[in-house]
């Protein structure tokens, strides 16, 4: 109402100013909190004390112009800064025609164009004439890797998001021609190279390696000129240009730094260090997300959990001191056992449902169904006051089954289950019919038939509701100990965090000493002495009273489920059993062992780690050296392993700089495919170029060759710029060998934690659950998850420690009520269910003389695979019993309902 009556149009910032809304509005339908707000800059009442229309039209009386800003004083034990990132200044975009030519858009604006809820309802159109573009160019590194605007760093995310936006555009408009102009293609995230390749092959997106300096307009189209690596000049006309703008530090970074009293780095991001990436310069002030440096969603989510772990370490003694516990009344078992008394609530969802479906007709129809004693319609069933009213009506009418005819149970069922619990009914006694998505939305053009279908769905839901039974909600106690597998940087960091949070840790390392790959590293990427970082970690781990370190030890078997695992550890010929509540996988990775390149045939060919070992012993070995050649992607990116090893580019640049420091007259050549010195590491790349390190691009088709000669080594490679082969006599060849996964297969089998095709452990969700695995109670960090830097391993280890500490802190694990149940009288012990269960949640136990299946309810996810494959139909699913589902299906025909 308020939006409708407001006379003041304002630009819609949620839609990147591509659309118009009114001063009072809501950004998008699913916004949380889901209340409208007033844009004070445009409001007539706020600025001129006139109008007041919205306050008068608001039926809820929710607009109060007398409200004043309030200052709150909060007493907190820690602060986490997660202000996100800022936008690149529009002045930077102007040289690419932004603001001058309407069809030059930022990638954020383009994202809104592709979105169904955006200003063009998902149609990609040119703002100048509202027609679909035929040719689109994406320009990368706008406001990134560009010292002229002060942003010398790489924003790390734009390469991937441009490829995503281009793919989405191709899905909308298959005929559109798309070119992306890259300097380097930096898709170094886990699985990103694969996704990029798929996108290139599936959609035919053109990859051009060039930086476009400017955009001009020619005959209503946008003209670009560029120069490729072979020195050729090109030009082309496009209908739309998308600027892949980078991530800047937040606009108010200075203010935050002042208020929180923390230091910023030279790009105005929060200053942190490699061994403590989430800690600001002030004690108790932590940082997560893009404010720590440009990063993508999975890394932001990882850092967020990591920051939570550190806060939890700092405040372990005050845990649960200020939290509030919700209590529920006891269940009214006698009411639940009575004959079904069903209440049906039909939701309007504003106009979402009622705009198509005749809600009142559906409501009255529900009243004719057997067992229904109450039938009502509600404007928004999910609103706070509606839930309260539903609860009261359930009580007043002594209802013991409830049907909510509204939207999707995926999003809203927990809300209604909670309502039932709050008044002493078992949450399993509610059933939902999704008449919004399945009727109003998909049949918007046929309101009458949509209404009939809504009646069908309600009739079916009522039939099922009659047979709903209360389900137990058992909880199991948690053993307050974590098993951490792997004693490298990630494993030690995770162990320390869990121990500092107040829980016991058993740290199992297969090697003779702690340290893993960190033992071979000489310097960290920010130039710290790696051995000091290692020493500090090892000492803390060994001294911690909560950590039990087992070296030369191996995990032989793991049984049990979240909260109650039992593992067998073998050590020096003996085995011991350990009880623990959670598992952290930190099994690490290895430096890839190069094949070819004369590796192993000549002492002059080494890997980057071997070079570091030489460097740590002094510069003697460089005495007669003139030319050093480094070769990137040895083993990585399709050479042998498919993945990008992520940190070899930065490692090579770091070591090249070290060599230049020790012997400035040295000629260093780095052969690369894409330099992926992402984030602030771009500074090192620029410094190396400035100091004369020569970077030469190669492709898989024409790889550099290392040729052993009687007196030394020759590197032969194709130089794109010259257009011919070059030969470099090399004093030293350094291979940037990638990171290969550790021996994860056996552990993967023992724990049932799946692996990626490359052999790293697979996370539960690439974006939102980056440190959890599919098996409950098992978490993941470090190189076991994929190649990453020390800094990233430490952050991820903290994140895994936070997730692992959650069940330990709760002390109990709640079991989801929808689990499988085995009728042991019918079970023949065939074991099909056990072999198919993806969560190790069914075991065969001896009952009498025969083996029978048994569900481990704490591990069961309720997927139903076991029930659907059981040959004797001995397994039923809580909340989805065969009887209830059959009743629901029978009720599909009105006749069936009468029989039922």
């Amino acid at each position: 109402m308020c939006t409708m009556y407001c006379p003041r149009p304002v630009v819609d910032t949620y839609n990147e100013r591509l659309d118009i809304t009114r001063a009072p509005h809501i950004d998008y339908a699913q916004a949380i909190p889901s209340s409208y707000y007033i844009d004070a800059r445009a409001c007539l009442r706020v600025n001129y004390e006139t109008c007041n229309l919205c306050a008068q039209t608001c039926t809820a009386g929710a607009i109060d112009f007398t409200e004043q800003p309030k200052e709150l004083v909060l007493n907190v034990g820690a602060v986490v800064l997660a202000p996100g990132f800022g936008r690149v200044d529009e002045k930077v975009l102007e040289k690419f025609g932004y603001g001058r030519y309407p069809d030059v858009l930022t990638a954020f604006e383009f994202e809104r164009l592709t979105c169904a809820s955006g200003p063009s309802e998902g149609h990609i159109v040119r703002p100048s004439d509202n027609r679909p573009p035929k040719k689109i160019a994406f320009l990368q590194c706008i406001g990134s890797r560009d010292e002229t605007c002060g942003n010398g760093y790489c924003s790390s995310v734009c390469c991937m998001y441009a490829i995503k936006e281009a793919s989405v555009a191709k899905e909308h408009e298959p005929d559109v021609d798309i070119s992306i102009f890259f300097m380097d293609v930096r898709t170094m995230g886990k699985g990103f190279d694969d996704a990029r390749k798929r996108a290139q092959q599936k959609y035919g997106i053109n990859v051009v390696r060039a930086r476009v300096p400017r955009v001009d307009e020619v005959d209503g189209r946008l003209a670009l000129t560029w120069t490729t690596g072979d020195g050729e000049h090109h030009s082309g006309l496009f209908d739309m240009v998308v600027l892949s703008v980078g991530l800047e530090s937040p606009e108010d970074a200075g203010l935050i730094s002042q208020v929180a009293d923390i230091e910023l780095n030279h790009y105005n991001f929060c200053r942190t260090s490699v061994d403590a990436p989430l800690v600001s310069s002030r004690n108790g002030v932590l940082v997560a997300g893009a404010f720590q440096g440009p990063k993508d969603i999975p890394e932001s989510v990882t850092q967020a959990s990591g920051a939570a772990a550190i806060a939890s370490e700092l405040l372990a003694d005050s845990r649960n001191s200020e939290t509030v516990t919700v209590t529920y009344p006891d269940e009214d078992k006698s009411l639940e056992e009575e004959e079904p008394r069903i209440g049906v609530f039909v939701c309007h969802c504003g106009v979402n449902i009622a705009g198509v479906v005749d809600v009142k007709a559906v409501r009255d129809y529900a009243g004719t169904l057997p067992g229904v004693v109450l039938y009502e319609d509600t404007l928004y069933s999910c609103s706070q006051d509606a839930l309260k009213s539903i609860a009261e009506k359930i009580k007043d009418n002594r209802l013991n089954r409830v049907v909510i005819s509204a939207c999707s149970p995926r999003t809203h069922e927990p809300l209604f289950q909670e309502t039932l619990r709050s008044i002493g009914l078992n949450p399993a006694l509610v059933e939902m019919a999704n008449i919004r998505d399945q009727c109003a939305w998909v049949h918007a053009q046929e309101p009458e038939r949509a209404t009939e279908k809504a009646k069908d769905l309600v009739r079916m839901a009522v039939a099922k509701a009659r047979l709903l039974a209360p389900l137990d909600q058992p909880t199991v106690d948690v053993t307050p100990t974590a098993l951490v597998i792997g004693g490298g940087a990630a494993g030690m960091s995770a162990a320390l965090s869990i121990a500092d949070q107040g829980y016991n840790v058993v740290l199992v390392e297969k090697g003779r000493s702690l340290g893993g790959n960190l033992k071979r590293l000489t310097w960290t990427l920010d130039g710290q002495d790696a051995s000091m970082v290692l020493k500090d970690m090892v000492e803390k781990v060994k001294a911690h009273k909560n950590i039990d370190v087992l070296t030369s030890a191996k995990v032989e078997s793991v049984s049990g489920y979240v909260g109650n695992f039992t593992s067998t550890i073998s050590r020096g010929g003996k085995t011991e059993m350990i009880n623990h509540g959670v598992i952290v996988l930190a099994t690490g990775g290895r430096e890839y062992k190069p094949k070819g390149y004369a590796y192993g045939e000549s002492t002059r060919v080494v890997t980057q780690l071997e070079l570091e070992e030489k460097l740590s012993r002094g510069k003697g070995f460089l005495k007669n050296a003139r030319n050093v050649v480094m070769i990137q992607c040895v083993g990585s990116r399709g050479e042998d392993m498919t993945h990008c090893s992520r940190l070899c580019c930065t490692q090579a640049v770091k070591n090249a700089l070290k060599l230049k420091d020790l012997k400035p007259e040295l000629n260093i050549f780095i052969f690369y495919r894409d330099m992926r010195t992402y984030g602030f590491y771009e500074d090192l790349y620029r410094e190396a170029r400035r100091k004369g390190v020569k970077f030469i691009r190669y492709t898989l088709v024409r790889k550099p060759e290392v040729i052993k000669q009687p007196r030394g080594i020759m590197v032969k490679a194709f130089d794109e710029l010259i257009g011919d082969d070059i030969e470099i006599p090399a004093s030293l060849v350094v291979l940037s060998a990638g990171i290969s996964p550790g021996e994860n297969e056996e552990l993967s089998r023992i724990i049932k934690a799946p692996l990626t095709p490359e052999g790293f452990f697979l996370e539960a969700h690439a974006k939102l659950r980056p440190v959890e695995v599919a098996v409950d109670g098992v978490y993941l960090c470090g190189l076991a998850h994929g190649p990453k830097s020390l800094e990233e391993s430490v952050a991820q280890a903290k994140a895994a420690a936070a997730k692992a500490a959650i069940p330990l802190a709760k002390g109990k694990v709640a079991v989801a009520p929808i689990v499988s149940r085995v009728n042991q009288d019918l079970c023949i012990g065939c074991g099909i269910c056990e072999s198919l269960c993806p969560f190790s949640a069914i075991t065969l136990e001896k009952v009498g003389k025969r083996k029978k299946a048994q569900t481990i309810t704490a591990s069961c996810k309720g997927c139903g695979i076991c029930a659907s494959h059981c040959p004797t139909i001995a397994i039923s699913m809580g909340g989805f019993t065969d009887e209830a589902i059959m009743a629901q299906i029978h009720a599909f025909s009105p006749e069936g309902c009468k029989e039922g």
Binding site: D27, Y28, I32, V80, S312, L315, D317, R319, E322, Q501
Partner: protein
């Protein structure tokens, strides 16, 4: 004096929200402060996310 069991999280984007969720699961009271009218940050403006092409919301 015992330290407070409350934590201030500045910013309601995906990082702030995840921190707040984990901290409340770990037994702490959280004040989540966001300058805009709703939480979600930039991720709420994205149409789909790579590589799974899941809806962002």
């Amino acid at each position: 004096m015992a330290k407070s069991g409350s934590i201030l999280v500045l910013g309601g984007g995906v990082a702030g929200v995840q921190t707040a969720l984990d901290l409340s699961d770990l037994g702490y009271y959280v004040y989540l402060v966001e300058k805009k009218a709703s939480i979600g940050g930039v991720m709420a403006q994205l149409d789909k996310t790579f590589p799974t092409n899941d809806c962002s919301l």
